[in-house]
């Protein structure tokens, strides 16, 4: 199941038929009869050093996908393959794909050295009782790496890397003494300290102010340049996605409806949902007149969705075929631009 045209680039993460169903609580003792299809049969690949964006409105399943990819939650079904160095002493030849969806115990802990997460809200994601040193060095102590002295060296190194300089002035401060932008830099340092190959960033800049946000985005781009890290970049903001991502996937009610190179998808959207979404993005130029594409209704919850296109009810171009058939598969329309629609 190769979703992507083969190039010289190396696949780092391969997601196959990933599914996450949440039971809808009906009562304390009752068995759940309905399920929210938060992530429903999602497949994609992320290359080494690539920033892959997951775009969509709230409730589309993008955060759930992100959490699944670092195994913060266990999937209902499906596979997540990550290229992991089994033995740190071997080179990239010694790497192999491991299905992280089924990892347990030591192997799961080992996997966590390779994949880290940055959360949306830096006011919630840092323990207020820990110093910056404790927060950033915690992964080292969990994995038993280095002496206290070495850890301090490494933390200082990471803090200057993320632009918190001089590091000594930050080491023993607490999160409440830091601004939002500085806190998010601490969260990035913590995610980076184990040299992961893959980071899931869930709306890392949406809580930050414009003048601060750009600095954090540029930092993440620089880290990719320097260390070849791959990101899954989750955002609702298409302008941010355009700035950050090499390729993007647009999600709607648990399904990927469109996937392709960022510029291609944004300038030439094919799926009717993506078209409406992109036409609704405000442009910071008062002389531009947009032509918004109207779609009916609002986003519902994917509770036991009927077996047809998830966008059917709101779709302006839906036909009889869309009503009769299952949710359309992603099809390549050329240049690695995939769309899940019967009518395109």
């Amino acid at each position: 199941m190769a979703l992507q045209t083969q190039t010289k680039t190396e696949t780092l993460v391969r997601v196959e038929n990933l599914r996450m169903l949440y039971p809808v609580a009906t009562g304390v003792f009752a068995r759940a009869r309905s399920f929210i299809h938060a992530v429903d049969d999602v497949s994609f690949e992320i290359n080494r050093g690539e920033i892959f964006g997951l775009i969509g409105e709230s409730g589309c399943g993008k955060t759930t996908t992100g959490k699944l990819l670092v195994r913060l939650i266990d999937p209902t079904s499906g596979h997540i393959y990550l290229r992991i160095t089994q033995d740190p002493s071997t080179d990239s030849q010694g790497e192999q794909f491991v299905d992280i969806a089924t990892l347990e115990g030591r192997a799961l802990k080992e996997f966590r050295r390779n994949a880290q997460m940055i959360f949306q809200d830096p006011y919630e994601s840092l323990n207020p009782r820990m110093t910056i040193f404790d927060i950033v060095s915690e992964p080292l102590s969990i994995h038993g790496i280095g002496s206290v002295y070495e850890r301090e060296e490494r933390v200082a190194e990471l803090l200057s890397l993320v632009g918190l300089t001089p590091p000594e002035s930050f080491l023993f401060r607490y999160p409440h003494e830091l601004s939002g932008g500085q806190r998010q830099r601490v969260a990035i340092a913590r995610a980076m300290i184990l040299n992961p190959s893959f980071i899931v960033a869930d709306e890392p800049t949406s809580m930050l102010d414009v003048s601060i946000r750009t600095g954090v985005m540029n930092l993440m781009l620089d880290l990719r340049e320097e260390f070849g890290i791959s990101y899954l970049y989750i955002t609702h903001d298409l302008a941010v996605a355009r700035y950050m991502c090499d390729r993007i996937a647009v999600m709607y009610l648990g399904k990927i409806v469109e996937l392709g190179p960022t510029e291609e998808v944004i300038q030439n959207p094919l799926h009717p949902y993506t078209r409406a979404l992109i036409s609704a993005v405000p442009i910071p130029d008062p002389t531009v007149e947009r032509q918004p594409i109207e779609i009916k209704g609002g986003v519902s919850k994917p509770i036991d969705p009927p077996p047809r296109c998830r966008f059917y009810e709101r779709c302006p171009i839906a036909t009889e075929r869309c009503a009769q058939s299952d949710h359309p598969p992603l099809e390549d329309k050329g240049h690695g631009h995939f769309v899940a629609c019967y009518e395109i």
Binding site: T214, R242, V281, D285
Partner: protein, 385 residues
Amino acid sequence: MAPLTTYPVLQVENLTMHYTTRKGAVKAVEDVSFSLDKGEALGLVGESGCGKTSVALTLLRLLPENAQFLGGHVYFFRDGSDEAHARRAVGKPVKILLDGQEHQGRLVEVDRSQLVLDARLNGRTQQIKLGRDDIARLGVDLTALSDEEMRPIRWKGISMIFQAAMNSLNPVYKVGDQIIEAMQTHMPIPIPEARERVAQLFQLVGLDRQLMDRYPHEYSGGMKQRAVIAMALACDPDIIIADEPTTALDVIVQDKILREMRQIQKKLNMSMIYISHDIAVIAEVADKVGVMYAGGLVEFGPSEAIFKSPIHPYTKALMSAFPSIKGEKVKLAALPGEPPDLIKPPSGCRFHPRCPYATEICEREVPKFIEHKPKQYAACWNPLM
């Protein structure tokens, strides 16, 4: 009477307000001046904590107890023929627009045909009498009103949509009834008429009239936001202040509501102050833009001029830090440093520690807010011209 193309509805002059805290005074609003014309949409943009919401709260005098109003004037204008407005202005500082000229003074008395005004003319205070019909606009200084006198201004004169207002709907009352209650507090209107008015408002904001008799939990986020907009329009205000009304909403819903608000505002020829941190949203809704930084208004002028050629370095920085889905993809320029602590703001121009164009004078003296290009004002020693 000279025909005027634009009428002011609001003139804010040198507004200053601090919050008292245990750590010291937070200098939240410092010497802010701007004006708003009839039918005009003003976008107030800036980052969190820059004072944009505080400006709105100061205008409406909805400040918390630790707020200290330190000075400034807020002239709220209506037609000179508006009886209630003229009555409320008696004994208060007023501004009068007469034959295209602005006169300032204190209103002494008013009767059916004329106003008596104490005004300074030719260097000395004298009493002048003006025919009511000659007066285009009569502005009363809201800062001189008592709380009691201020009450009728809110909702009917200036109404406000608060940030996250959609979460402030009372869950145990039907949405329609909540709007009727707000309406009846401000104008004597019988229930059937009020219901009819709510139905019209619902239609105006794109809600089905059946929804009047539903509870807030039956509404989606976008529907609640529409209901809150309907509520703000209930008393037919001259000015509506919208504080980040679409921030919590998804892109498609945000866009729909934004366009609807703009349409309503144009259709009713209402004036609007739209507060947002998002310059793209401001570009869409605003005729004029005010950019705030660290409690001060740093730039003010027509939207197109400001977006095309900003004068203040902060405005420029804000724009070059903002990604867009249109146009060429460029590396965004990050602004060094962080917004200052408003308890101890930097001396001189508050932006100088982060400003790439700062010179020695910027640190020493507060720049004056002056007109650098036609109608484009900025407070900067080294304006980008």
